[in-house]
Symmetry: C2
Subunit: 335 residues, 2 copies
DNA sequence: TTGAAAGCGCTAACAT
DNA sequence: ATGTTAGCGCTTTCAA
């Protein structure tokens, strides 16, 4: 180590000074000499060497286990990154494209590089099988879960999100609310729908009196479902959508039919999608999917000495009321 | 190395067979013995140690230099990742939040971890100052550039994109095209506008006869600008938008005014934004920003022995014609 | 208060 | 055809 040579001390001493090793007492004079040499040579410890010696790499593997690698991953990574930086860790990122085989392979690559921990994330909340290799380091699941909750998982509280969105509409005075759901097979869809029904029942209403139409989370499905709705004789006073994209499609279909939002019909989204929900006219009332917070939480739990508790951590999805919802018009007559 | 012990050979021999070191000839018998020991112990070389020895980490730093960390970064990373994996590299990801200070700091963190190269990316195409530290490894700029093009950069060919979008409209028969631009100060805005004007002139038209209104790339600005347009007495037969979000806003404004797209007016977007352009009704004709291709290119150029050529590499933005554009209605009368 | 020495896991040059 | 040795850059006893 040339810093040692320049400062006229041993490498060990340099290490002590640079790392402020506890329990080591270095004279102020030598410390200054070392520090000066460090500055002069622009010295930075080689973390690969450090890692080799200490058995840790100050690096966390982030596995995105899905075909899509978009907004969700970006937000979650941003949150996780933020916390990691604060702890001196960096994220080694990997994208499986949704293939379990790739996932297993890439986790091995991550492990070869001695990552200290793993964050295993999916885009659409869903069950996953965690490759065995992952068991060699602390691992936390983000937006996904294993069959017996054998690995700690961080999930959005979709039931509550669906419930609170519905309650907001009920409080506005709506009594006839249609739900245009996302893809029925998805976990989130079922959970949100459950929240919807819970809220209805909680208000003394019968869920069976409310129209539920199944879509697929795409904008065009919102558009199509609204047209289906329009073909019926009676329009609800409020429409809940599977997500913001569907809400935008719904908006388009409604406006095209000459129906004003929120004057004639209220529209509620879900996700609070970046650069969409707040920007659309009227600005969408919606429920925020707390991806950055989930990412942050994952990194924090990992830092807190590995997965403390097993099981699921549900993260609240806050309601965001904007301009696409209002009290229903006071016409009691049908359509 | 316990593999060596189990196989009854020296560590060097293990290294030779595991890495298939060229120029080393190992008897089939020992090779089998080693391979078996490897399998038995589930042995994987420690890449930190390998890196220490060989001076390379099989890791590339990806710096996202912007506040936003959304669709662009995700797509570019996906592209870069794809190529990296093929080469046996992994991406160490870092997010500066747009701060130069953070950027410098994080690059040092990356360098400490011995990254072999750097990809430095911005979300909105723009000039950047590359932290000095980055000069220590091969670096390539993605969607950004330095003042004297001192570092190789990969950029979308926005001028051509703007031109080809306009030409498509012209070929459809449009002679009165309005342009609702994005944020005027941005590089991309200027380039696309230039393409627009080039195309107009190329068709013997005078750009001055065409309305250009300045927006800011947000959906609501598309909506507002359309309303401005509607307040004038004469509506163009086609509207080009700064990006897809603005196009969606424009669509909403148009439909709200009872104007059919593309029957009465054609609408052209830009970006081909994931889960938006293709899903909206009518599906948006647009120009694709080739982010994944750009990411791939970056990784490839880095692999090809460091930045071969200096200067800029322009990547083509292909036109994507969908349902929001059509030939203009054959009414020659005004409004 | 400091230094010497060993060793983390691996590979490359040089023996044999 | 295989083994020996040295050392990548660092940290950590242990001894001085």
């Amino acid at each position: 180590m040339d810093v040692a040579r320049l400062a006229g001390v041993s490498p060990a001493t340099v290490s002590f000074v640079v790392n402020r090793t506890a329990g080591q007492t270095i004279s102020d004079e030598t410390r200054q000499r070392v520090l000066q040499a460090v500055a002069e040579l622009d010295y930075r410890p080689n973390r690969a060497a450090q890692g080799l010696r200490q058995g840790r790499s100050a690096t966390i593997g982030f596995v995105n286990h899905d075909v899509d690698f978009g907004e969700f991953a970006a937000s979650a990574i941003k949150g996780a990154h933020e916390v990691c930086i604060r702890q001196g860790n960096l994220l080694l990122l990997v994208n499986t494209g949704g293939s379990n085989h790739q996932a297993a392979q890439l986790i091995v690559e991550l492990l070869d590089r001695q990552v200290d921990a793993l964050i295993f994330a999916a885009v659409g909340t869903r069950p996953v099988v965690l490759p065995d290799a992952a068991r060699r380091v602390p691992t936390i699941l983000l937006n996904c879960f294993t069959s017996h909750d054998s690995t700690p998982a961080i999930l959005p509280d979709e039931v509550r999100g669906g419930r609170e969105a519905t309650q907001a509409l009920l409080e506005l005075g709506h009594r006839d609310i249609a739900y245009l759901t996302g893809k029925p097979s998805q976990w989130a869809t079922k959970a949100r729908l459950r929240g919807f029904r819970d809220a209805l029942r909680g208000a003394g209403l019968n869920p069976r009196d409310h129209i539920v139409l199944s879509g697929n989370y795409h904008a065009d499905s919102g558009y199509e479902l609204v047209r289906t709705l329009l073909r019926r004789n009676r329009l609800p006073t409020a429409i809940m959508c599977g997500n913001d994209r569907m809400a935008v499609g719904a908006l388009l279909g409604l406006v095209e039919a000459g129906i004003r939002v929120p004057k004639d019909v209220s529209v509620m989204g879900y996700d609070d999608q970046f650069q969409l929900a707040a920007e659309i006219r009227p600005a969408l009332s919606t429920v925020r999917l707390p991806y950055p917070a989930m990412g942050r939480l994952a990194a924090e739990q990992l830092a807190a000495g590995g997965p403390a508790r097993n099981g699921r951590t549900l993260v609240h999805c806050p309601l965001v009321m904007r301009d696409s919802t209002a009290a229903p018009a006071r016409r009691r007559a049908g359509s």
